[in-house]
Symmetry: C2
Subunit: 240 residues, 2 copies
């Protein structure tokens, strides 16, 4: 496909002359590769990642680099999370304009030199993305609601569909369950890393579902319409 100019399987060798390293692995592996990159990249090299959770990664990177001469290295890592991609994996689904117009959350801890945060933000902006900043903790709350809970809801909805009706599934069912198609091990790690925030979002969802169910059971059309309208307005305010 022409997507890879040079491939190296040894990380220290791969980053030896890198001015920027972007770690793209499931979240549980991110800290070890960040650490390795920081140790083997040139002194001026920066490291970021694209993990879907941030607080755990940042804490673990800090823990791994806690020696007296390591804080300088630690300040060369700034976490990122591009809100782009799809349920598909593999280079055959690569897309040159993947980040064009998409949001990337950069998650400084406040301990990094400002110019490093600016550099990481500039990197994403050079790919056409809109970069914004949140603390790792705030990031994790936000994506629990906007990404992690929808994944669980989609998976549960697909899992709850009786097999005998699947042949009747049309675009609506496919849209609503699409994200459930994502890599399961990748998602296991995300849920393990963001358990508390996902549970909080989950309970807000269950509460709204409870209201809808009660309205449906009571035949309270006004209440049901109220929720349908909120759902429609919120969706339509976001996009198509």
């Amino acid at each position: 496909m022409g997507a890879i100019d040079s491939a190296v399987v040894d990380l220290p060798e791969a980053v030896a002359r890198a001015s920027l390293v972007v770690i793209c692995t499931p979240v549980e592996s991110v800290p070890q590769y960040v650490e390795l990159s920081l140790r083997h990249a040139p002194d001026a090299g920066l490291v970021t990642d694209v993990g879907s959770t941030k607080a755990g990664i940042v804490t673990e990177v800090a823990r791994r680099l806690s020696g007296p001469d390591e804080s300088r290295r630690h300040g060369r890592f700034v976490g990122s999370h591009p809100l782009a991609g799809s349920q598909r994996a593999g280079v055959e689904h690569a897309q040159a304009d993947l980040f064009e117009g998409r949001t990337v959350i950069v998650t400084p801890t406040g301990l990094e030199p400002a110019e490093h945060v600016d550099a990481i933000q500039g990197f994403w902006e050079s790919l056409g993305a809109k970069a914004i900043r949140h603390s790792p903790a705030v990031h994790d709350q936000a994506v629990a609601a906007i990404s992690h809970l929808p994944h669980l809801a989609a998976a549960a909805l697909a899992a709850a569909t009786p097999a005998q009706w699947l042949s009747l599934a049309a675009t609506g069912w496919l849209d609503t369950t699409r994200v459930a198609s994502g890599d399961v091990e990748m998602w296991r790690q995300i849920f393990a890393a963001n358990r508390a925030c996902v549970l909080q979002s989950f309970d807000q969802f269950l509460q709204v579902l409870g209201h809808c169910r009660e309205a449906l059971e009571r035949g309270d059309d006004r209440e049901l319409v109220r929720w349908l309208l909120v759902g429609k307005k919120v969706h339509d305010a976001v996009g198509d």
Copy 2:
């Protein structure tokens, strides 16, 4: 757009020489227009509809045409439900190949002459659709699981998303909540007409959600992965 050859606002006049009438209104209005069409279309004219619920419509049409000379008219109505379309409404979203390759459920009661059911099925097949037959009651159970519950789940998910994070919503959230964008009054009528079946599907969904939530809270990754895998497999078996 060239989509409409001739427009008439008076139904009796519109159907006076029709060999086939297709009623496309929200479900609560279908029976009255079916009745009116059967009374004013030529004796050989057939009537169908595209309503998303069927048992209520069929019962109400039968009730409206219960006189001794009406049963002949009643047998000229055969319900249909094309599983196609989108959350969009209006002629500007018309699509000539909308039914190409899509499933249409034809819902005979068993009281219609076989040739009428064949004719309605043939009509949908002439548009490129795959027509299958189910009783109105079985149809309503199937679409509760495959269409009506996903709509409620999507609306509840959108409604439960905190406003401050909506600017971060990406394709995953938009896919998962897309159907919530459908016309609210149309959906109110669907839920009112298919309450019992939707409640049954709703409770199956809540049960799976409960298992997922418990696994998440307990940190039981194996159980959570089990549900993620079921969801992924079910989705991937259906489509993209």
